[in-house]
């Protein structure tokens, strides 16, 4: 049985301007030790998907439909208390901004020990020991002394390591990482990516890596889901999606990355802006920005076309898509 199985998840925000369908029918599943890259531009609903899994969506947002099955159990059916005992324990989350996710006025020791003792009845000393081992595991030198420091005494990369260590403390089965390396510079980013990948392999933790950067998931993820306007427009094994994108949006994203063998060539760009989530077009949400759009795209939203297990796309003109990239 897969660790996480999301079926037709719908998270809507009920604002004064109308209902914003931030996540509108997202489905994917994840096995132990597997890494899923959830890719999309800002406002495509990828973070809200992550928050929905942990049931951390704040009003006016609400999960209105679908199932989030964690080891076959629907998280929506759990009481708040049961959900709380899962959070930080069996499902952990790593947040985007390492400057903001650690409480500025509490020492690292306080925050880590608290995270352990919220879920286990163990002594302060034992919790502290585990904090030290975890900090060492994510590559923080002289961890025991660093415990007494405050977050502002760490650099951004070190802080994100601490945040990752806190997520790893209780040996979770699933980690939702919401753009954890976006705020870091590239060298630190690659270090952390390598470490996280190794840790996930070692412990068999399933990992959802939310990012807007296809380059990051290319080396990290086993499979990719590309989100656009609250929907997954394409998903599949990483190499297949990257090698042969079916959806023009994926192709456009790939074309906008500078890479090998393309020296001197112009990068392609996707024209226009991500649509406002409260006023989505009738047909395919990507149609106004798509070179391949035809009448049917503007009138009917495409359904998912499955091309294999956990592999599929939402497009009326899938075969033409690859031409955009090349």
């Amino acid at each position: 049985m897969s660790v996480l199985d999301i079926r037709d998840l719908q998270t809507h925000f009920f604002t004064d301007d109308g209902v914003v369908k931030a996540v509108d029918g997202v489905s994917f599943s994840l096995d132990a030790g597997e890494v899923l890259g959830l890719v999309g531009e800002s406002g495509s609903g990828k973070s809200v998907t992550g928050f929905s899994i942990l049931r951390l969506v704040d009003p006016p947002g609400r999960v209105v439909g679908g199932e989030i099955l964690f080891h076959g159990q629907d998280l929506a059916q759990l009481s708040n208390r049961e959900m709380r005992s899962l959070r930080g324990n069996r499902i952990a989350m790593i947040f985007q901004d390492p400057m903001m996710t650690l409480n500025p006025v509490l020492r690292i020791e306080t925050q880590m020990v608290e995270a352990v003792r919220a879920h286990e009845r163990i002594s302060h000393a034992a919790a502290r020991d585990r904090a030290i081992t975890t900090l060492a595991k994510v590559g923080i030198p002289s961890a025991a002394e660093r415990l007494a420091a405050y977050p502002h005494q760490f650099s951004g990369g070190m802080r994100q390591r601490v945040a990752i260590a806190i997520a790893l403390l209780n040996g979770p089965e699933l980690i939702v990482a919401d753009e954890p390396t976006t705020a870091l510079d590239v060298t630190i980013q690659s270090q952390i990516l390598a470490e996280v990948q190794e840790l996930a392999r070692e412990t068999g933790t399933a990992l959802i890596w939310i990012t807007h950067d296809l380059a990051v998931v290319a080396g990290l993820a086993d499979k990719i889901s590309v989100m656009y306007a609250g929907r997954i427009v394409e998903s599949g094994p990483t190499d297949q999606v990257l090698a042969a994108p079916q959806h023009p949006y994926t192709a456009g994203l790939l074309g906008s990355i500078p890479g090998h063998g393309r020296r001197g060539e112009r990068l392609t760009q996707i024209p226009g802006m991500a649509p406002s989530m409260s006023r989505l077009p009738v047909g395919c949400a990507f149609a106004p920005r798509c070179d391949l759009a035809s009448e049917i795209c503007r009138s009917t939203a495409p359904m998912v076309t499955e091309t294999g297990a956990g592999q599929g796309y939402r497009c009326h003109h899938p075969n033409a898509a690859q031409k955009v990239a090349t």
Binding site: F95, Q96, M100, P141, A148, S155
Partner: protein
């Protein structure tokens, strides 16, 4: 990744500061318990511990920021002035030439003597004169300072406690609970505080405990509103989401993570609010509804001498008035410096 800070386990300054603040806090509490309960060490020792503890707490609060705090002559003057007045208040029993509460020491024949005169057998000089019952004004001021300060500080601390709990709960709970609590706060703040306090004191009667309760009821709303404002902006920050993502219970997030981040503005308004409370308490006492006549505060001393002002016997009202002015001005100036020093928003 080289270590950019060096912390030796034994002489970690942050740890020493933490221990210092705990010891100082304990010392202050213990000294107060011993003084109020009349147990343990002799009062003089308790008072010394209290003073040292208070100074240590102030030092912990300002650690690493002394240069910023003492950045002008006004800061030195105000701090020295406040410290002097606090010493005078704490050691009033030891310093004052006469116990103004002890009727056996008062002689009606010494009544209304001008500053510098002596009593009948020349054993006592009234440097600031006497009031109508032959009570030494200087002693009265020292004891009055103690009453004024302790009443205001106690009222401010308890009001802050209540206000913080209400404000932070309102910010956290949101929705209808927040609306109801904040409308109560608005309602409370729409009355002039002196009016509310007057009505309460008229209902309660005189007494130190009663004036403390009245001052708390008048003041808690300020804190509730301030804390709610800070807490609202802090709740939106990611570390709160992260704490929820760790599965911490709500009360732990509120009191362990949210509250410590709301403290700096609280320290600032509480210092300024102590000054306001002193003025309010003095006003109530002046109007005759405050402290009991046997335990005069500065306001009551001013009121006692007020009737003789126009007959040229100015000292009975004026010197307590000067003392009141000095303490309020000193607290306000120190509070201003504290705000500049502790408020991170002003440094950016």
């Amino acid at each position: 990744m080289s270590a950019d800070i060096h912390i030796a386990p034994t002489t970690d300054p942050a740890k020493l500061w933490r221990i210092a603040s705990r010891v100082a806090g304990l010392a202050v509490v213990a000294a107060l318990v011993m003084l109020l309960g009349g147990v343990g060490l002799p009062p003089l020792w308790s008072r010394i511990i209290l003073l040292v503890g208070l100074v240590a707490l102030a030092a912990v609060l300002l650690r690493g920021k002394y240069a910023k705090f003492f950045s002008g002559p006004s800061a030195y003057v105000a701090t020295a002035c406040l410290l002097l007045l606090i010493v005078l208040a704490i050691f009033a029993t030891e310093l004052s030439p006469q116990n103004p509460y002890d009727l056996r020491q008062l002689d009606i024949m010494d009544g209304r003597q001008p500053p510098g005169s002596t009593n009948f057998d020349r054993t006592l000089t009234f440097h600031l004169g006497t009031d109508e019952q032959g009570r030494d004004i200087l002693s009265g001021i020292l004891y009055g300072l103690r009453v004024s300060l302790s009443v205001s500080i106690a009222a401010t601390l308890i009001a802050m406690l209540i206000g913080v709990v209400v404000g932070i709960y309102a910010a956290w709970a949101g929705g209808r609970i927040e609306a109801i609590l904040m409308r109560i706060v608005d309602f409370q703040l729409s009355f002039p505080s002196i009016l509310v306090a007057l009505m309460l004191m008229a209902a309660f009667g005189r007494g130190l405990d009663k004036i403390v309760i009245a001052l708390i009821i008048v003041q808690w709303a300020y804190y509730a509103r301030t804390v709610r404002g800070t807490a609202l902006s802090e709740t939106r920050k990611e570390y709160i989401d992260a704490a929820r993502g760790l599965g911490l219970p709500a009360w732990r997030i509120v009191f362990g993570h949210l509250l410590p981040n709301c403290i700096p503005p609280l320290i600032v308004i509480s210092t300024v609010q102590v000054a306001n409370t002193i003025v309010l308490e003095s006003s109530l006492s002046f109007l005759g509804v405050g402290v009991p006549i046997t335990q005069p505060s500065l306001g009551l001393l001013i009121a006692n001498g007020y009737g003789y002002m126009l007959s040229g016997q100015y000292w009975m009202s004026m010197y307590p008035g000067v003392a009141l002015l000095a303490i309020v001005a000193a607290i306000n100036m120190v509070g201003d410096r504290l705000r500049d020093t502790l408020n991170p928003r002003l440094t950016r």
